[in-house]
Amino acid sequence: MILYTLRRLAGVIGVLIAVAAVTFTIFYVLPSDPAAAACGKACSTERLAAIRAHMGLDRPLWRQFWDFVSGIFTGRTMGSGQYALRCDFPCLGYSYQNSEAVWDLLMDRLPVSASLALGAAVLWLALGLSTGVTAALRKDTLTDRVLMVGAVGAASLPVYFTSMMLIYGLIRVAGLLPYPQYVSFGDDPASWASNLLLPWLALAILYAAMYARQSRSSMIETMAEPYIRTARAKGLPRRTVVVKHGLRSGMTPILTLFGMDLGGLLAGAVITESIFGLPGIGRLFYGALSTGDQPVILGVTLLAAAFIVVANLAVDLLYAVVDPRVRL
């Protein structure tokens, strides 16, 4: 198990370097000039050259990549003289746009994205699993039909539509919630939750439907297994059978799905953040993209990839814990 984990971790690093290389190439091969963007409108040729040199853009591509990768571990010093910026491990460079360390920026935005993703995940798991299990236990009844039609319908709703309807209904008409704007949990937990509730709902509706469908089919499959029949025959109460035996193995496929979704969402809720104007990782990325802020773009892609890979790893390890049949 330990060996396996170590091997997988090495793989994670390999994947991250590959992602960095691909991102690097995309942005340096394609025409986009961050120096010109930073220089502004009255930009003379000499000034542009000076800025390019300052940003290190005048060096060959492989060299820039090497500086970046090695800089992550050893740290880097950017600029010179009084204005030199020192950046220590883990050094992802400095934003061209606002001169903050990319790592700090990411860590500043992560709580927003994490709040969004985790809160929504709790909601959708609760909603999705309860719906799915209920439907599974009442297989082929009217309840089952209604729930499943509802789930397919909800999953098909464009998230823009759901969001606007939520804004209209809960904010404009009912006046129940404030217009979302991020308040950190540490400052005011109640306000944090009430501001995020709407984005949570919008995301949860989308995902809950998927989880309901998935958990239903998985539950139905499990409940048909011989050992469940045995447990029932032993005279165990239905509740115990469902909760102790059915859920445990019925939920393992859900775990995969959940790991991937959460990993993807932590750094990729671009749309939701954009709809509700939340200052998360997704918006950081989007803003960096429009200003050609390459260090930030690179930082976000790496972080996002890291989340996905780590989430996958975590899922695989959890699998071994939850499902005794899986050996690593």
Binding site: G11, V15, A18, V19, V22, T23, I26, F27, L30, P31, S32, V152, G153, A155, S156, L157, P158, Y160, F161, M164, Y168, R172, R213, Q214, S217, E221, P253, T256, G264, A267, G268, V270, I271, S274, I275, G282, F285, Y286, L289, S290, I297, V300, T301, A304, A305, F307, I308, V309, N312, L313, V315, D316, Y319, V326
Partner: protein
């Protein structure tokens, strides 16, 4: 990441039960029994027809999708359509777009063409590439498998939406529809490749495949005659199920402003622009949203049914 592989390999041994009387006939009979299939097929067919006949349909409506109509809007109210329901009239069957007065019917019909074209072509790329990679990895095994599997893992580790946005936004002088199709396709193939790989692994040592091999058939022949038909069921089901995702991705990219070039309409572009009018001109917002909703719903229902029938236990990734 390899977690799902043992799972689907294990389950798919029972996937395609050999039946005497033609599995496809059975499938067709089963499909015909379901009401949801009929409805969703009808919806899909309607939208496909609409997309294919877009120029014809908008000619019928008498409006081109790019043509402004100033008489239909009130410039003093920020270009709000004149008349009820977003300016519905004999002239504009579904009303007009605010500000420009462009005909909503013509735009939604042409938008269907663009959105479905992108989604279906991207799906085709994904399916062809994914199936080929999956079969190759599963059948040849060894180094081929190792390389392809690593490639799948790598591609799946990419934050795809983020990469798509990035690629769309840096590329300027290109056909955006083609680029969008390719970009969406690029990140989709590993999912299907895994399913196919698992399926192929289980088929590879079936008696009839061994028999063919012993009979001296070449790899190509075995792959096309024996393996491909075996994986076709799950592939078809999976394909139908990923189409909604493709449509949604097109919409997402357009929503974020990296989609088609104006004035080309697509459903995503229309939704993105109409969001700001959701309360002042609800009709404008509802129409493209409803189209997106119905299409996604129809493909999902169809895919569900196909999966139940063609691949009752596999294909869940």
């Amino acid at each position: 990441m390899s977690s799902t592989a043992p799972d689907s390999a294990a389950t798919s041994t029972t996937a395609t039960a050999p039946t005497g009387s033609g599995p496809w006939q059975l499938a067709r009979r089963e499909l015909r029994r379901r009401a949801s299939v009929k409805v969703s097929l009808a919806i899909v067919a309607a939208f496909l027809l609409m997309a294919a006949g877009a120029p014809l349909l908008s000619a019928l409506g008498g409006r081109s999708p790019d043509e402004f109509d100033k008489s239909a809007i009130d410039p003093y109210l920020g270009g709000k359509p004149i008349g009820p329901l977003g300016g519905v009239s004999a002239d504009h069957w579904l009303g007009v777009e605010p500000v420009t007065g462009r005909d909503l019917f013509a735009r939604v019909v042409h938008g269907a063409q663009v959105s479905l074209l992108i989604a279906l072509t991207a799906t085709a790329i994904v399916v062809v590439a994914g199936t080929a990679a999956g079969i190759a990895a599963g059948y040849f095994g060894g180094r081929t498998d190792a390389v392809l599997s690593r490639l799948m893992d790598l591609t799946m580790s990419f934050p795809s939406l983020i990469f798509m946005i990035a690629m769309m936004s840096v590329a300027k002088d290109v056909n955006r529809i083609v680029l969008m199709t390719l970009v969406i396709g690029l990140f989709g193939w590993p999912g299907i490749a895994r399913v196919v790989r698992g399926q192929t692994l289980s088929l590879k040592h079936r008696e009839y495949v061994d028999a063919a091999r012993v009979g001296g058939a070449g790899s190509w022949r075995i792959l096309t005659r024996d393996i491909l038909p075996g994986v076709a069921g799950p592939v078809i089901a999976y394909t139908t199920l990923i189409i909604p995702g493709m449509i949604a991705t097109e919409a997402a990219l357009s929503y974020l402003g990296v989609g088609v070039r104006p004035p080309t309409p697509s459903w995503g572009q229309m939704i993105a622009e109409s969001v700001s009018f959701y309360d002042t001109d609800p009709m404008y917002f509802v129409i493209p949203s409803a189209c997106l909703f119905l299409t996604v719903l129809a493909f999902t229902l169809l895919g569900d049914a196909l999966r139940d029938i063609l691949d009752p236990r596999g294909g869940r990734t």
